[in-house]
């Protein structure tokens, strides 16, 4: 294999490699390491919050080992991995000093041509978003083929056979069809499988996986994790796995490195780091992961405040141009949905993407009109009301959104954002303002935030502002659509605590939409599981977690990353 040829290194290069190999050996004597990062520094542009994106980071990776780099957003975990590949997004961040020694060779010093051979051939990488990571106008087969073609001399036929084998290895159905498909013709999970096939095409020694399952649904995530583990074992690959999810870490890692502000704060075996963390930051992070044991049930008032009966919402597209247009498509986002919410209760709507859970939420707050069925609030069917008729009920049902960046008007002050609603509903400006300041304090923000603009706040703070906006209208029902899924785990825990506190204090009833069963377990009294527009099962949280009746619910529960770890933790506590 041409890729195994090493260029004749200069004397200094050789001795540097030698030195690095020595330090590597000292660091990890039990296993032979073949990738060692030594005092790596990656610089951020001047004027950033900190001067180094990656600040004096050292670790090593052994063959057949899965090392997880875990940390919150902005911790530098992704850039560490990109630095190994020489793929830093220059000129904004760039390598400053330190060594990246791969099989005795310092990758920070090799020629661009040698680096090219290493990439894809000996170290390869998969990414978070397989849709954008694949070239949209190139067939999957060609994208796999070029990896082989640019590293090894093989005939066209050999390459094709190899690509077909690879697709088979990653368990894609009908490899010849996948070969000639374009990325947009595959599902998210299939695309990620194709990415993996591409990455493993040349049997690389190291696979770098940068949040490879974050964009996927939980059941697909479980499959991809299983696949990576399986292939890693059969191909003898060392895997550097970057993630923010401790559940994933628990399932896949041999060793874990925890990163914060560009530094590794703790590194060790998965058992040690997850179950007996030493560094306070690691402790805080692991404690912030919601438990899978449902919270204690509280006495539920059996009086329904909101009833959704036989709700139907269908999206249609295509079907024009005398049958010459696109084939008409119908998506049943809500297919005869029946759920009810009791006073003071939190109802969880759980499902994967495309299950219709968000559509249901938007129908309840009357953002979308439904096709048929009824939504009764204290007996009144909201579906029959027009705009004017809906007005008195607007304040009763309010919503909190998912995206902390898109949910606040960037051109409006926080004060205007919160007071707009009460003013529209007839409150005076002064009354609305004093209420807004009160609400800001309630959600844990300084009332001086009133004059400021959304971009001055962090993601978690913005979610608090969004909550204040909803609460300013004195709602009885709060519909929360994935309110914490865009937040880092520590912030997520704070916002969830805030929600729980406010729900108790204001005696709110809540509809809580989430894809995360851990969050659902901690927040919801009852859960309805949705799939393809249908509610497949609903019941009290504890009962559902203990014994799911529907196979899909069971599948979801099984797919939650880090189940075993959670069980052990709760037993030990």
């Amino acid at each position: 294999m041409s890729t195994n040829k090493r260029p004749e290194g200069s004397v200094t290069q050789g001795s540097a490699a030698h030195h690095a190999a020595n330090t590597a050996a000292k660091q990890n004597q039990a296993r032979p390491t073949f990738l060692t990062i030594d005092q790596l520094h990656v610089q951020l542009p001047t004027g950033s919050e900190r001067s180094y994106a990656v600040d004096d980071v050292s670790y090593s990776l052994a063959p057949q080992e899965i090392l997880c780099l875990v940390g919150e957003s902005g911790s530098g975990k992704s850039l560490t991995a990109r630095a190994i590949m020489g793929l830093l997004p220059e000129p904004y961040v760039h390598y400053e000093k330190g060594k990246i020694v791969f099989q005795g060779e310092d990758l920070t010093k090799v020629t661009p041509e040698r680096m090219r051979q290493v990439r894809g051939g000996e170290i390869s990488m998969i990414f978070q978003e397989p849709m954008t990571a694949l070239n949209p106008v190139m067939r999957i087969g060609d994208q796999i083929d070029e990896v082989i073609r640019f590293h090894e001399k093989q005939s066209r036929r050999e390459r094709r056979a190899r690509a077909l084998n690879l697709l088979d290895d990653v368990h894609l159905p009908d490899p010849p069809r996948i070969m000639s498909a374009y990325p947009h013709e595959l599902s998210g999970g299939q695309r990620q499988r194709a990415m993996i096939a591409m990455a493993l095409a040349l049997e690389p020694k190291v696979l770098i996986a940068d949040e490879p399952t974050t964009a996927l649904d939980v059941t697909t995530q479980a499959q991809i994790l299983r696949l990576i583990k399986e292939l890693q074992a059969s191909h003898d690959t060392g895997v550097l796995f970057i993630t923010h999810d401790f559940g994933v870490v628990a399932d896949i890692a041999d060793r874990v490195a925890v990163m914060q502000h560009g530094k590794i704060v703790e590194i060790g075996t998965v058992d040690k780091v997850l179950n007996a963390p030493e560094h306070p930051y690691t402790q805080a992070l692991t404690n912030a992961v919601p438990s899978l044991i449902p919270r204690a049930v509280k006495a539920v008032n059996e009086k329904p405040i909101l009833q959704v009966n036989e709700l139907v919402k269908t999206y249609r597209s295509g079907n024009r141009w005398f049958g010459l247009g696109k084939t008409p498509k119908q998506v049943h986002a809500c297919d005869h949905v029946n759920v009810s919410l009791n006073e003071g209760e939190t109802l969880g709507i759980v499902g994967e993407s495309g299950s219709g859970k968000s559509t249901l939420a938007r129908c309840i707050v009357r953002l979308h009109s439904s096709d048929s069925g009824e939504i009764r609030y204290r007996g009144t069917d909201l579906c029959t009301l027009d705009r004017a008729g809906m007005r008195p009920y607007r304040s009763k049902i309010q919503m909190v959104f998912q995206d902390p960046y898109a949910s606040l008007n960037p051109r409006a002050t926080v004060g205007r954002i919160i007071t707009e609603g009460p003013i529209i509903l007839g409150e005076t400006r002064t009354a609305a303002e004093s209420r807004a300041r009160e609400m800001l304090e309630l959600v844990g923000l300084d009332s001086r935030a009133y004059e400021r603009y959304p971009h001055e706040f962090s993601g978690g703070q913005r979610q608090r502002i969004g909550l204040a906006r909803a609460l300013a209208l004195k709602p009885e029902i709060l519909v929360a659509d994935e309110p914490v899924s865009a937040l880092d785990v520590s912030i997520q825990a704070q916002v969830l605590d805030l929600l729980a506190d406010i729900r108790e204090r204001l005696r709110l009833s809540m509809v809580f939409i989430t894809h995360d069963l851990r969050v659902a377990a901690q927040v919801c009294d009852r859960i309805a599981v949705m799939r393809l527009g249908k509610v497949v099962e609903q019941g009290p949280t504890a009962q559902l977690f203990e014994q799911a009746n529907h196979p899909y619910t069971q599948e979801l529960l099984d797919a939650v990353p880090g189940r075993e770890w959670s069980r052990m933790r709760s037993q030990s506590q």
Partner: protein, 276 residues
């Protein structure tokens, strides 16, 4: 960094602003610099630049080319600005409605826009001016009629993207009216691209105006750069300057506006800039 700081980081935009300021200054003081009517015959015809006191020469009838250019600057800027304002207002209105309401309103408005985009715009402008008889008003209307579709498409795109943003949904949930959402919530978020497109449209409008005037479709009572070039083309062989200098004036003005437009783009969309 402030708006001005970001704008000044683009050095060619500063140059553009300087040229544009100069053109505006000349247009504003044309009456003082050249108090005579630019149509008036003031000296020997066909004088070369520098001869007989003509900075840029004189034309076949002995009119001062430089005086015509100074007065022409007024017309170009005036028509460019007015036509663009009309086109932007129309485009924003139609684009906002199409993008915000969607459905059949969008269908109808977009078919309408598409038709206007299919029609060869310059020929359409010629027709409108020819039918309405050449005058400042007809030229402005013609340019506006052929320019609004670009704005409408842009604004529609912005409104469609914004319509599904969560902050807009939040406004629906608190019971805000559609018009208020469109004007108070969405429009301020689309101002930057509209300003940038508008500034570039002024440049295009000046080019269209000069083309119409060149073909003899300008207001016959007002001198303009295009008219000067059109009138001078018959004597191209013997008096090249009559065509050359007004052409340079058009080029510099349009160039300056384009540069300022790009500077505005950089200053108003800082994130876009950092990507490239």
């Amino acid at each position: 960094m402030s708006f001005w700081g970001r704008f000044c980081r683009n050095r060619s935009a500063v140059v553009g602003l300087f040229i544009l300021a100069l053109v505006i200054l000349i247009a504003a003081t044309a009456g003082l610099l050249f108090p005579e009517d630019p149509f008036k015959l003031v000296g020997r015809s066909m004088s070369a630049p520098g001869e007989n006191g003509f900075l840029f020469g004189s034309d076949t009838l002995g009119r001062d080319v430089a005086a015509g250019m100074a007065h022409g600057a007024r017309v170009s800027l005036l028509i460019g600005l007015l036509a663009t304002s009309v086109a932007v207002s129309l485009g924003v209105l139609l684009g906002a409605m199409a993008g915000y309401f969607g459905g059949w309103i969008d269908d109808v408005l977009m078919r309408f826009t598409e038709m206007f985009q299919t029609i060869p715009s310059f020929i359409f402008a010629i027709l409108i001016v020819a039918i309405m008889k050449p005058s400042i008003q007809s030229v402005i209307i013609a340019i506006a009629v052929v320019s609004w579709p670009a704005v409408a498409r842009l604004v529609r795109g912005e409104f469609m993207a914004m319509r599904n943003r969560e902050f807009v949904q939040a406004c629906h949930i608190i019971g805000m009216s559609d018009w208020r959402i469109m004007i108070r919530e969405i429009l301020p978020n689309c101002v930057s691209p509209i300003i940038v497109t508008g500034s570039l449209m002024v440049a295009t409008a000046i080019l269209i105006e000069s083309g119409l005037a060149f073909l003899g479709l300008g207001d016959p009572n007002i001198i303009s750069w295009g008219f000067q070039i059109g009138a001078g083309r018959t004597v191209l062989r013997s008096a090249w300057w009559v065509c050359t200098f007004p052409g340079i004036a058009i080029m510099l003005t349009v160039l300056a506006i384009n540069l300022v437009g790009e500077g505005l783009n950089d200053a108003l969309n800082p994130r876009l800039r950092e990507r490239t």
